[in-house]
């Protein structure tokens, strides 16, 4: 028995206290908001609890995987992901007009989800291998590694996921030292190509952007989501209407309110003060992540920690921006808040990696 408890303590010792606290506080808020948004549905609440338990388990496991082992997973995972994405393009199932799903007989899944972690792992592994020797060609091949999944996902079509994965790849290249002139040049080129992009965009994508610019133009269609969620947030005021007191929430006006639009429920019931607190929590996680990155002993750890931190806040920004009506509607959940197992597990997996990087410093040095 003492050996088992010793083993448990050792496993748990890889958890980062600050990160864990922040994550648990957020998950607690998430439980309260999901309970309110689901009308205290026992099924939703227990489902959420199970997801949280599973995801926390995954986090503990990941925290115990040393970074040098993790980095070895990068290349096979990345190549598997690319192969699967090509498989999607060739044999994928069409749902809602997009070819995103791969049916493996026993389970259907979206390989693009896999890429969210595989791409940063692959790039971090690659730059780690070439640490200290970085030249233009490394960034060039890094760019190719980024573009390959990006383009495959873009043509599914799934602009939202493609951009999110592209962003994570870009963060990694950025932290690896991508020259500023390339970044600025790319930015100018990108800006100039916006009109071309617009022309290449699918109807539904164009509509989403147009709806964002004027939600009232289509109040019962695509604009309905944005209109109702901004009403919910705006009517929350400074202190909110109180937990379980939001009329937009309780009377069904907010769409998808336990998942993608959970921030509308939160904003309505907890107000501006709540929003500050929530954003503050996310910022604290990012800050902790960046501190971990700064202290990480290996390039792989540094790059992963920094990228995962920025990536997390990118999701926060895209989701809140969408729900509060400054970004188009893309199906991105709010990290650690939205109901949904896959996203939660992926996120806490990332948190586990951060913790692993944070706690394997000494081990690596020795």
């Amino acid at each position: 028995m003492p050996r088992i408890s010793h083993w448990i303590v050792r496993r748990l010792s890889h958890l980062d206290g600050i990160l864990l606290t922040l994550v648990l506080v957020l998950l607690g808020i998430s439980l309260a908001v999901v309970a309110s948004a689901s009308g205290q549905s026992p099924a939703r609440i227990s489902g959420h609890l199970i997801n949280i338990g599973l995801a926390l388990g995954v986090m503990v496991v990941m925290a115990n995987v040393p970074p040098h082992l993790l980095s070895k997973v990068g290349p096979p995972l990345f190549f598997a992901g690319v192969v699967l994405l090509i498989g999607v393009a060739l044999f994928g199932e069409v749902r809602n007009g997009a070819r995103r799903w791969l049916n493996l007989g026993f389970v259907a899944f979206q390989p693009s989800e896999l890429m969210k972690l595989a791409l940063p792992l692959m790039l971090a592994w690659y730059f780690q291998r070439n640490e200290g020797l970085l030249r233009a060609k490394h960034f060039l091949s890094g760019g190719v590694m980024l573009l390959l999944p990006f383009l495959l996902i873009l043509r599914q079509p799934d602009l939202g996921t493609a951009l999110m994965i592209g962003a994570s790849g870009f963060y990694l290249l950025f932290f690896a030292g991508l020259p500023w002139k390339v970044i600025l040049g790319g930015g100018i080129l990108g800006g100039a190509s916006l009109p071309v992009m617009w022309g290449l965009m699918h109807d539904y994508q164009q509509r989403r952007v147009l709806t964002l610019l004027d939600p009232s133009s289509d109040p019962l269609g695509a604009g309905y989501h944005i209109i109702q969620s901004t009403i919910a947030i705006g009517s929350g005021g400074l202190f909110g209407k109180g937990w379980m007191q939001g009329t937009q929430n309780q009377l069904d006006f907010i769409p998808e309110r336990t998942t993608d639009f959970v921030f509308a429920v939160f904003g309505e019931e907890f107000g501006f003060v709540g929003a500050i607190f929530l954003v503050g929590l996310y910022l604290a996680i990012v800050a902790r992540g960046l501190v971990i990155a700064a202290r990480a002993p290996t390039l792989f750890g540094r790059l992963m920690a920094a990228t995962l931190s920025l990536n997390l806040f990118t999701y926060v920004f895209v989701n809140m921006g969408m729900v509060s009506g400054i970004l188009p509607v893309v199906g991105v959940p709010l990290p650690l808040m939205s109901y949904g197992g896959t996203a939660l597990i992926t996120l806490l997996l990332g948190m586990g990696i951060l913790m692993s990087v944070a706690t394997h410093r000494q081990l690596n040095k020795s």
Partner: protein, 630 residues
Amino acid sequence: MNLATPLKNLDRELARFHRRLKVGAAFVALLAIALLARAYYLQIVQHEHYIQRAESNRISRVPTTPNRGLILDRNGRILAENYSAYTLELTRAQTENLEATLAEVGKLIEITPGQLRRFRRLLAESHEFETVPLKSRLTDEEVAVLAANRYRLPGVEVKARLFRNYQAGPGMAHVLGFIGRINDGDLKRLREDGREQNYKGSAYIGKTGLEQSYETLLHGRTGFDQMETDASGRAVRMLSRIPPVPGRDLRLHLDVELQAVAEHAFGDYLGGLVALDPRTGGVLALVSKPGFDPNLFVDGIDPETWKLLNESPERPMVNRVLRGIYPPGSTIKPFMALAGLELGLRKPADTIVDPGFYSLPNSRHQFRDWKRGGHGVVDLRRSISQSCDVYYYRLAVDMGIDRMHDYLAQFGLGEKTGIDLDGESSGLLPSRDWKQRRFKQPWYPGETVIAGIGQGYLLTTPLQLATAAAILANGGERVEPRLVQAVRDPLAHTWQPLPGGVRGQMAIAPANLAVVRQGMMDVMRPGGTAARSAAGAPYTIAGKTGTAQVVGIKQGARYEASRLSRQYRDHALFIAYAPAENPTIVVAVMVENGGHGGSTAAPIARAVFDYYLTGKRPGELKLEVESAAD
């Protein structure tokens, strides 16, 4: 291999990484500020706007339709009532396939072709989101069958609704009118009058008759429930409630039994009859034959029946009492006689010798008397009782058309009587001015001659004749005819009388009036033109017969009713009041193609007098109208 380079590179790369971490942190801070700025804008700056929108999202005003007022006759018998019944209704926007749904419904319950046609017509007039009735008055079995199958018929609903029922039959149709579904024209009018809010939730509005003219009182005030509703529009709870105020009940002067007696007395004839109480102007009976079934219109009439009603040569939709304009014929004579006396053109004892015709000076044209060979020596009373045409030819010429116009105008001829029904005609009281304006032609003397016996341009409605006769009956007071005598306050449950309209007192010398009234009594006495109609009456009647030409008779030709097909026969007219000494009822009758007033119109008036004054009713007449329990 130079080991220093990678190491140097490592340091440089680490330093760069730390710089970039700061850039990353700044980037994240920027995004966070953008998010919070947006939240600040929505939650603090625009908070008022959004809280209002959330409230209007949440709160809906659900109108509650007031119950329509009842219409009762003078004895409290129900003429128009409401009853609750189930109807089958469809909302086009909610059906997946309208035709398939109709076919499916047709399999469940019987839908007649007429109901289907009516439904399609209503559908064409309605908006996509409006609910249109397909079949009303469902039986319990039909309700059960539909309820059981509703889940697979989206857009199909069974609703409990209040219906209007007119149980008094076709005879009352012209008085009561009917309600019908509110159409675009009604909506526009309601909007213009600012009454639109009060009709939220109302499906029906008065279209004709009393239902139309008393719409505001009958409809009542719509109530509103403030409901908290969810996003799918389902009511969650009631927040506040303004109860509806039911419409007011109307009590008429009209006696539905008298109405039935009058209608029965017409037999197969078409025409109009109106009976007034000369003291109040209260309408005791108002018959326009043929009538129609007003219940056909309540839920929208099917196109075939409508066409039949609308295009019938008998024109059942026209209220002949209000809108039928006919030459008054000899019924104008008492008024002419009074004009002659009052204008000093005649004295009661002045006589003429009637050779059977009259010619204007310097003219060979003969205006014939209805009696070949003439009436001989005729004074004023005899001119009325015998209906001597030549007496009035001369009088008219002596009076001139303009003085005739001015005097007869005091009896309300040529203007609307002001009855509380819409659509009344004002008839036509000609004058020199009028002819100049209308035809740009001078007035010809011959036109004055025939105007003296109520022919030519002069046109009156039966209602105008009755109100004019009422002036004779009540000694010069001009009353406006009124159907409604009282309205019941729905909350206090008390009747408030509606005062009748009075248009002042005509100054008539009592002696002159007495002579004319004597003449009218003579009409009903042996030797008078309607003597037979007064035989055996336990009260005295004063009356005047009239015959209005439908086709002109050529000079030298004779009018022979038997040789004319019925539709070209003369209209028979009769005005009368009784008891002659102290009149309580005035009647004007017009029988289309009835021939002589004395033989067809006067007996109808007699039947009305008998019932009203003695309670006697024709033996075969049955009446089934239930009384209101009040």
